[in-house]
């Protein structure tokens, strides 16, 4: 009789250490780039609005 805890995912194969390391690095890179993009868009908005004479509350 199968142990229900062992057959949670049928056909699941344990990823190799290399695959896990690569995934971790990809995740960090995606996170970093998304954060950089958000900061860039925010900074662009501020500069553009200021250059058009817009006022920001101090």
């Amino acid at each position: 009789m199968n142990n229900p805890h062992e057959s949670k995912l049928d056909g699941y194969v344990e990823p190799t250490q290399q695959q896990l390391t690569a995934r971790k690095r990809r995740n960090y890179a995606i996170g970093g780039l998304l954060a950089a993009f958000c900061i860039l868009v925010f900074a662009l908005m501020v500069v553009k609005i200021k250059s058009m004479g817009g006022q920001f509350p101090s």
Partner: protein
């Protein structure tokens, strides 16, 4: 045009768990960073030469977006050409043919970067520049990569437009306009592209033949290609007079253009008179600049053409900067 057997040369890298082993540096390689430097430089030159002033931060952000757009189109190109890249000595170490990532990752990466670069440029500069960038990505990925490259030996003549757009995009980012001067910058790269790529194709004939890509030397022969290289070198020299006539280029540009075009024509003449591309054995060297005897004239022109473009746009930019500071 592609041999159906080429599809077997590409082995998708699915591990047992179906998890990719691609690292961030593989995605960076997907953006063809070496080509990107030329795109960034010519776009910067277009931005500097354009009339009007631009906030430094916005200018830098615009150049970044153009660079990312170029990287996006390169990723889409590699996604589509994974099969043929696997057959060429020059391209078989790229992330996809080397088995470091699967095609869907490259496709997703290319599409996301395309969207972000166009959106970013629209925010940083204006819709004209963003529209031009979107069209450039479309032209390179769809018109050139998917259609022209595998169907006609004129592929890089027409497809060369994709590489010629960046200075126009840079110009539009600064001025919001498309003018005769920005079109001249486009034309210089457009006329430079055929001799540049055909010089490479002459000593990489075997590679292109193996991949089934109809480059000019494979279809019309080496002799015809060498003559066309020389003719294009003459047309390029005539095109370079344009900026002098319109006033975009001054004495520095005039001097640089004179020297470089004489050099370009001389090297193109040597290619025409050589036997480049006529080796009995069609085995190509692995390196971009490695050649066997007989192909050196083509290799020299290829290497010189890269310096040529940097120097020409460098001269135009320098002149424009001097003008704005004086």
């Amino acid at each position: 045009m592609t041999d159906p057997s080429t599809a077997q040369a590409y082995n998708p890298p699915h591990g047992e768990a179906g998890l990719s082993v691609a690292e961030p540096r593989d995605f960076y390689a997907l953006m063809k960073p070496r080509v990107m430097t030329l795109v960034v430089f010519t776009a910067w030159a277009g931005l500097v030469c354009a009339p009007g002033q631009m906030n430094l931060f916005l200018a830098a952000a615009s150049i970044l977006c153009i660079a990312v757009g170029a990287g996006a189109s390169a990723a889409l190109n590699m996604w589509y050409e994974a099969d043929t890249d696997a057959l060429m000595s020059r391209t078989k170490t790229r992330p996809l043919p080397a088995g470091k990532m699967d095609r869907s990752s490259a496709l997703g990466f290319g599409i996301i970067l395309s969207a972000l670069s166009v959106l970013g440029l629209a925010i940083a500069s204006n819709y004209v520049a963003a529209g031009l960038l979107a069209f450039t990505i479309f032209f390179y990925a769809v018109i050139y990569t998917m259609w022209l490259k595998r169907s006609t030996p004129q592929n890089i003549v027409i497809g060369g437009a994709a590489g010629a757009f960046p200075p126009m995009v840079g110009w539009a980012a600064a001025s919001g306009d498309i003018t005769i001067d920005s079109t001249l910058l486009f034309l210089i790269i457009f006329m430079w592209t055929p001799p540049h790529f055909w010089a490479l194709a002459l000593y990489k004939t075997g590679d292109y033949h193996k991949a089934g890509i109809p480059m000019m030397p494979n279809v019309k022969g080496a002799k015809s290609t060498r003559l066309q290289i020389f003719v294009y070198a003459l047309i390029l020299a005539v095109t370079c007079i344009g900026p002098i006539v319109t006033g975009l280029g001054g004495p520095i540009y005039m001097l640089v253009a004179l020297v470089l075009n004489l050099g370009f024509i001389a090297l193109a003449y040597k290619v025409w008179q050589s036997r480049a591309g006529e080796r009995a054995d069609a085995a190509d060297e692995a390196g971009l600049y490695d050649v066997t005897k007989g192909d050196r004239a083509a290799r020299n022109l290829f290497a010189f053409s890269i310096i040529y473009l940097f120097a020409m746009f460098g001269a135009l930019s320098a002149e424009s900067l001097i003008r704005s500071f004086s």
